[in-house]
Symmetry: C3
Subunit: 371 residues, 3 copies
């Protein structure tokens, strides 16, 4: 095989001599220190762990029209299964295993397991975040990965880039080995980039690494209908004793200009038949789907020295009947990007305000190393 120009951050790249396939291999890990004062005890409680460790293989197979991607998670945080009965008592090592067929230059069919076209923050790689990790909006409402089909179309109207994505998936999330419970999950997403494409696909990268010379904007909305799901958060969470159909709307935006970047997301999830499944004798909720709304706003400025200061505000408003606590988070992040998102140190401090609980702060410091 001939070897492409491998470069730090771009993985080891191979192309077969007869151009019959290509393979890019990369590996990465995140070292995370996380600590905070526990209000009840006043103690500083902390942990230090390998937050993520991944092996990634992608390229084309037989024809450049057929791309593939396989990504394995190997850290405990990534692979623990909450639902061993449904995952063959095995760890969930496979993150992505997907074939991408270019039907036309503008139209792709994806088959396999990968991220659904949900909120922007989720689709941004965990390697390319502006903060140490994603926001509370994401952890409550994101669509995560699922197994199924995606049809992805992109076209241009003058300078304006438009994307339409439709997806049908099983609805219970990744690495399920048993029969589908209830119905499927249907997702639609529409994106518009009025000032054209971002440099380096920057509409799905945290921070303005490319320092856009002209303002760039991406606006998008996603709608998801998860029919008769059994999990508290659709693709994630505990399996509950009853099923509900969940309707989720996302609206999100990314803006970048000369080192400044801003991202906003709004999520709204409803269970038309009511989220609560089970109450105990006292009437307290013991099983419920997670519904409600959330807002996440964040912005940062990348200094010429590749230091960045960024702020984030997240508001989570669960449906009252669920009994889940309302929560606000204020985050201040400071990052040093040594080689973009491939070698960086990020830190953030978050003030967490939960209803009927004392405020608390959380500190995180993370190093990312990605070949």
């Amino acid at each position: 095989q001939t070897v492409n120009e491998s470069k730090f951050g771009k993985g080891l790249q191979f192309v077969a001599a007869d151009s019959s396939f290509s393979l890019k291999f990369s590996t990465r890990f995140q070292l995370l220190y996380q600590g905070g004062n526990t209000p009840t005890t006043g103690n500083w409680d902390d942990r230090f762990l390998i937050r993520r460790a991944r092996l990634k293989f992608d390229g084309f197979a037989f024809s450049p029209k057929l791309e593939y991607k396989i990504e394995f998670g190997l850290s405990n945080s990534d692979i623990g299964s909450d639902v061993p009965d449904l995952t063959n008592n095995a760890d969930n090592i496979i993150l992505d295993a997907v074939a991408k067929w270019h039907l036309t230059p503008n139209l792709q069919l994806w088959v396999g397991q990968t991220k659904l076209p949900g909120n922007r923050e989720r689709v941004v790689s965990s390697q390319k975040l502006q903060f140490v990790d994603r926001s509370l909006l994401n952890s409550r409402f994101n669509l995560d990965r699922d197994a199924g089909l995606q049809l992805r179309h992109e076209h241009q109207l003058g300078p304006v880039v438009l994307r339409e994505i439709g997806s049908i998936s099983m609805g219970e999330g990744r690495d399920i080995t048993v029969n589908n419970t209830g119905g499927y999950d249907y997702t639609g997403r529409f994106e518009i980039l009025p000032f054209g494409a971002f440099e380096g696909d920057g509409d799905y990268v945290g921070s303005d690494m490319e320092r856009e010379q002209t303002p760039k904007l991406a606006l998008a909305t996603s709608f998801d209908y998860n029919s008769n799901t059994a999990r508290a958060q659709g693709q994630l969470g505990d399996f509950l004793t009853e099923r509900r159909s969940l309707r989720t709307w996302f609206v999100d935006a990314m803006f970048k200009y000369r080192g400044f970047s801003a991202m906003g997301e709004y999520a709204d999830r409803k269970a038309p038949d009511g989220p609560v499944v089970l109450r105990d004798e006292l009437g307290d909720v013991t099983e419920t789907f997670v519904t409600g709304t959330a807002l996440n706003l964040q912005a940062g400025y990348l200094l010429p020295s590749n230091w960045e200061v960024a702020g984030r505000y997240t508001d989570f408003n669960p449906t009252a009947v669920t009994g889940i606590r309302q929560q606000d988070q204020y985050t201040l992040g400071v990052s040093k990007y040594i080689v973009g998102h491939s070698l960086k140190v990020q830190s953030d401090v978050t003030l967490i305000q939960e209803a009927n609980r004392e405020d608390r702060t959380q500190f995180r410091l993370q190093m990312e190393l990605a070949l």
Copy 2:
């Protein structure tokens, strides 16, 4: 290192500059959709999953006379452990880890964990099957993988190729970390290829990919004696409260000619001391070894367009005393081999007739992508 001619389907190949070792790396995955009507409810029940995802490393170490192979399974279907006490509470990620020492040009000693020389269908790679997956004969009676020694001899008498394989293994299957329960497992296999070797080792490949220009036939028989095993199927299945010795005979054949291929297998497993271990108060069997006979016949024709139509008939006749249901399966398969077994889409429909149950049909559609 110099790099060999890598080619799609042959993996990434490396040979050290000083020829002190070689390494072929490949990865593959199978995307499986499976559905069927559940007779009791009339519902269409289905699943979509990553059926297999593998990493494979093989080559020679130090001398071409010493080959090695390591294969890891990473999909939940491959790695879930039914017997956590006996596998150190860990997933069974290792499929093969074996050293193959060429004692003479015709004689090899294998040490480690790999497939036993049992029925042909089992030894054919899951990548190279004629249907979406192996037959019921195989799932009931195959010898699977085990840890031990194999002595493998091959020689020729005129055009006739003969192979003799003997094996001693621990008898309880792969990835067991505790002491051997009961005795060992002894396997012998004898193969005869009266019209010479198949093109591309086709006697262990589903479908006549090479379109043999002269008729090719392989006949074989295996005998296995698993002394005092504790698992219901020898190397597989639940650990039972008593042990039995199991005797298994296989007779199998493969025939190929100009795109036509046929494979047949017959299996007969006995537990001389009786398969049933435990009955409940009503006399119903609650624990039993799986014994009886099975027959599998399949044939297909590969069209010049690389579409194939194939049929399969499987009959499973468990020993009456076990109380296991007798079962017949009729399968029709349609496959499109885009690049042989390395990039293909396969589908099959199976009519399942179980004793004292309503007939049901199962539909499967699978894509294979293997570097």
Copy 3:
């Protein structure tokens, strides 16, 4: 990328064309047969398993001053979790994930998860042992791997090499995903090599592979203070219902000269507040930290034919109050190093004398294959 001179035992080596990163990939496995007479039954009980199977990635990232190492364990023996609640119900696949920053030519800062600077025998790779596996001293008292920081300094005074290593880590061992219980772990180590550095870093390699032409000696002492740990052996073992601070001293030495090698270690672990945590109604210990002392002495001679004969004596003296049995082990090892520690067959026989138990012997035979 340009490709370095890969060589058997040195892995596949890659350096990016722009020298922006390097990657060395290697894989290895150990096939272990282990058997022994069980005194109570008189039976020969044995097992055959893949003792270790590893994937290893190391090199530098962006600058030669920043090295990284990632090592994954894949055999059940390596990855089973005893404490699923604390490891996110996942297997412990990650052995090492560490970044090594060369602050100056003599000073390195390590961040991440890797072996602590404890006893020499533990730090020697499991690939490079003189016997089939490490001694009883190690299995009772070693510090294993942990997540944290290490500062490592090396300097020379004339021919004498000196090393000082300090470490702060979380104290509960590898792959913990929850908050730190109790305090941190503090480790210090001091090494002196009075006759200069060993060939091929031989002070951390079993057997005198390099056949030192002049006598080489390494002397070292480590002290570890694991504050308020919850695990019976600090970084290893069950989580107990109470916490103790553990103080551990190690003194160790390695000597090599013309094929002869000797290694000695002494360990002393105390729990100042008493090791015993829980007793049953009869006063028998049901939960205790493992404290006491141990001595390990071993020596071997590597013949010109690369056969080696070696002997080992290990004495384990647990604190009387713990009720753990005192134990002595006498081991005789015979090894054939075909290509150093990369391709070898090792065997050993151990006589095990436990207090108040019948003596027993254990036999082991192991093959190592490491690219």
